[in-house]
């Protein structure tokens, strides 16, 4: 029984016998579709690598990310220091590895905070329409009309520098986009017959929004969040670069580039290595997001 339960045929059965089998089968089909896209797989590999590196940073990093010896300062990449050392003699590889934790922390926290806010506000605005819509979208437009980095800057300036405040600042600038997407999606489905049918069955507004509208907005939001991850990383790095994000000696990638700027002509590796890490991770999220869109978009999936 246990063997047959987890077989491929069981998962792909056209006539599942239980809800669980149907749900597992759907996920399995989606995973397979995703795996057929080589670029999405590359993105996934990069994201998984980031997760592994962040989880095992203290064991993976060959040296301490904070302490260095001044006798080793500004060494070029070598067998001992794969990415060279910085102006305080710290191993850049170790700092990049530890920096992945900060990046992941910022990205996940921003996604977890901003996506639900935007999703719920957008769906509520789109579903109820009228003054609810005008009020919520008015607020959204105010936030949307301000340049992201500038607004984040203003908030960090008001709240004080630090990773926590950077996360809050980026969240405040990130949610309006999701609200807009969720609202647009909701407007296309609020008048459809399947919503009218639930209303006829006596479903409450809350039930309709939570169980019928939000699930349909979810995939486009997930796609957008994944694609935005790159932007969030860059904003965090930008805040770090101008000294308003993570504070030294924390090995934040943006702050590291900022420190390396001084030596960019003679010791190129100091700024390049963390920059390279930012590019790779951003690219990973972009590729994975594109792959997700192909799989999750129902209009594409039915074909």
């Amino acid at each position: 029984m246990t063997l047959s339960v987890l077989s491929r045929d069981w998962l792909l059965d056209e006539n599942p016998e239980t809800r669980l089998q149907a749900k597992l089968g759907q996920s399995y089909r989606m995973t397979r579709a995703l795996m057929r896209n080589p670029l999405a797989v590359l993105g996934l590999v990069i994201i998984l690598a980031l997760l592994v590196v962040a989880a095992f940073a203290p064991w993976l990093a060959p040296y301490s990310p904070i302490e260095g010896s001044l006798s080793n300062r500004l060494l070029p990449p070598s067998a001992e220091h794969w990415m060279g050392t910085d102006e305080l003699g710290r191993d850049i590889l170790s700092r990049v590895i530890h920096g992945s934790r900060i990046t992941l922390y910022i990205v996940l926290l921003v996604a977890v905070l901003s996506a639900p806010i935007g999703l719920v506000l957008g769906a509520v605005a789109g579903y109820f329409g009228g003054w609810v819509d005008r009020a919520l979208m008015g607020v959204t437009d105010v936030f949307l009309s301000m340049p992201r980095l500038i607004l984040a800057l203003a908030f960090v300036a008001a709240l004080g520098p630090g990773i926590g405040n950077a996360v809050i600042a980026i969240t405040i600038t990130a949610w309006p986009v999701y609200a807009r997407i969720a609202r647009a999606e909701t407007l296309t489905i609020r008048n459809s017959d399947f919503i009218a049918a639930v209303r006829m069955l006596g479903g409450s507004h809350w039930r309709i929004v939570a169980r019928h509208i939000l699930p349909l907005c979810l995939s486009s939001t997930i796609i957008r969040v994944t694609l935005d991850m790159a932007g969030i990383i860059l904003t965090a790095a930008g805040l770090g670069f101008i000294g308003l994000g993570a504070q030294p000696p924390a090995p934040e990638w943006g702050a590291m580039i900022s420190r390396g700027r001084t030596f960019i002509l003679d010791q190129w590796w100091v700024a390049t290595m963390p920059g390279f890490a930012i590019v790779v991770v951003s690219l990973g999220f972009c590729l994975f997001g594109d792959g997700l869109r192909d799989v999750l978009d129902p209009r594409q999936r039915s074909k």
């Binding site: 639930v198 006829m200 006596g202």
Partner: protein, 248 residues
Amino acid sequence: MIRIDKLNVHYGSAHVVRDVSLDIATGESFALVGESGSGKSTVLKALAGQIRDWSGTVDLGDVRLSPGKHPRELIRRVQMVFQDPYGSLHPRRTVDDHLDEPLQIHGLGDRDQRILSMLDAVGLARKFRFRLPHQLSGGQRQRVAIARALMLEPDILLLDEPTSALDVSVQAEILNLLKGLRAERGLTFLLVTHDLPVVSFLCDRLAVLKAGQIQEIAGVEQLRHRNLGSAYGRELVAAAEGVAAEQA
């Protein structure tokens, strides 16, 4: 069972339903026919609580309807089947989710058993229970929509052109199903259609609507014998026969 007196509906400045009065008996199958824009679907929507701006008196059973309100006790008694089975099912929810929803909303027990017996009643094999709508044919989807409408065991079923989005061969199956279900469960049907053969197959009486006004109310025998009273009614029959002749 359904008593409508002087129903008027305005869409903005357009007066789309004018003084429509109908009296439909329990267990009767009644059709509203007319061309598109005649206001026949609007009457149905007013009964279903989907539009707010209407005036007149509408009694469904012993419950009086008022504009903008849809009393909860009506939900268990009046349900609707929509025209397009491709639009009336949620694309991400399985057949089971659709049939389970009304039971959840109204806190009814014994859900597995009710769903299975409803699948049997609408002639949908049990193996389809956990399929998504895109894995079903148009006829199967309409069976799901009918099953969903019947889950709460209503007395009145509002049918908005339930077969016009389906292939001709499937239309007959769905019509037979509806006819059987009505006999079995003693349902009262209010059907909106422009398809006169459907009316003669499924209905006892019909009302002909033009520009929001009832032209005549006739028995289905009159329709079968092409013996409608109003000029517009005869025109409709002639037009339908013209289309049929062209297709043949």
